[in-house]
């Protein structure tokens, strides 16, 4: 992770994005599954776009396929930023 981007930054972006996709903010915890939050592949594709814009990292389909929980998403992105 670059020194400029913290895991807290990544968490903020992920949570804000999931909320913008319709998830209830109160339900967005690290353990929550994307399925529970009704987050589907289109939402994840958009999240990849957002992450590319904000942190200049590219997420491939194979990476995203492993993401099951909000925590997985934060860990994946933070690891690349």
């Amino acid at each position: 992770m670059s020194t400029a981007v913290t895991e807290a930054d990544v968490e903020q972006v992920v949570v804000d994005s999931l909320e913008s996709f319709g998830a209830d903010r109160a339900q967005i915890t690290r353990d929550a599954t994307l399925e529970e939050l009704d987050i589907d592949s289109l939402d994840l594709a958009e999240l990849s776009q957002i992450v590319e814009e904000r942190f200049e990292i590219q997420l491939k389909g194979a990476d995203v396929a492993e993401v099951k929980t909000v925590g997985d998403a934060i860990t994946l992105i933070a690891g690349r930023a």
Binding site: L42, A45, E46, Q49, I50
Partner: protein, 253 residues
């Protein structure tokens, strides 16, 4: 960056542009002009007809519109990417994409060679897929997008000597429907227009057989196809998606 298109309901100007592939002549040119008349800055894409593209730009600018000629062979992923980037730098992201670039290479299936099959599929179908894939990201983020695929009455309807063209155009219609449902909830619509026999350079060498089958007893005009593209690109057409609008004087009815 420029404000573009008819205004969204909340009155905010929409930042972005329209890209029309193959806009150096014919239907592409007419569509480019129609979108510009609605306020869209237009990327006039062409492969080799630089003079034609310049004429399209000139026509748009004469009507107080904005346009940029962008050379790029749609069958090249790299050229396509460069086209999108050029437009984004000049006018903002492409929020309207008209996949119009196309060509014919007619022959009976019995004697058609691989090269003629492949290039028609590549230009008419694969290029449309790649351009759509490239455009969708920005459209989804903007919560607005209009993908308009110029298909044909050929595909849904048979036309001997055009199995490659028919396959590409029918494929385009299939792709239109599936992509439409993938992105519908983001305010992005994906539709096809299926022109019949239209008066353009691409149809001057066709014999009268097809024309005699047209119930309207005439060829269509490029402006008649462009008017449909203009509607589909508009705010008013936001609930039209996954559909194919036939502009064919009744040919496929």
């Amino acid at each position: 960056m420029s404000a573009a298109g008819d205004q969204p309901p909340n009155g905010e100007a929409r930042e972005g542009c329209a890209l029309v592939t193959g806009a150096s002549r014919g239907i592409g040119r007419a569509i480019a002009c129609a979108l510009a008349a609605d306020g869209w800055p237009v990327g006039v894409n062409f492969a080799s007809d630089e003079a034609g593209a310049a004429a399209t730009v000139a026509a748009i600018e004469a009507g107080s519109g904005q346009a940029l000629a962008v050379r790029g062979d749609v069958t090249s992923a790299q050229a396509l990417d460069a086209t999108f980037e050029s437009l984004k730098q000049r006018f903002g992201p492409a929020l309207v994409l008209v996949n119009n670039a196309g060509l014919r290479a007619d022959d009976l299936a019995l004697s058609m060679d691989d090269a003629d099959w492949v290039r028609v599929i590549d230009t008419n179908l694969t290029a449309a897929f790649r351009a759509t894939r490239r455009a969708l990201g920005a459209m989804i983020r903007a919560r607005f997008g209009r993908v308009i695929n110029i298909a044909s009455v050929v595909g849904p309807r048979a036309n001997a000597g055009q199995s490659n063209y028919a396959a590409a155009k029918a494929g385009l219609i299939g792709m239109t429907k599936t992509v439409a449902v993938e992105v519908a909830r983001r305010g992005v619509t994906v539709n096809a227009i299926a022109p019949g026999l239209i008066q353009t350079d691409m149809t001057t060498d066709l014999d009268g057989t097809l024309l005699s089958a047209v119930p309207a007893r005439r060829a269509g005009r490029v402006e008649e196809v462009a008017a449909c593209a203009r509607f589909l690109a508009s705010e008013q057409a936001g609930y039209v998606t996954g559909s194919t609008l036939f502009v064919d004087g009744g040919l496929a009815a």
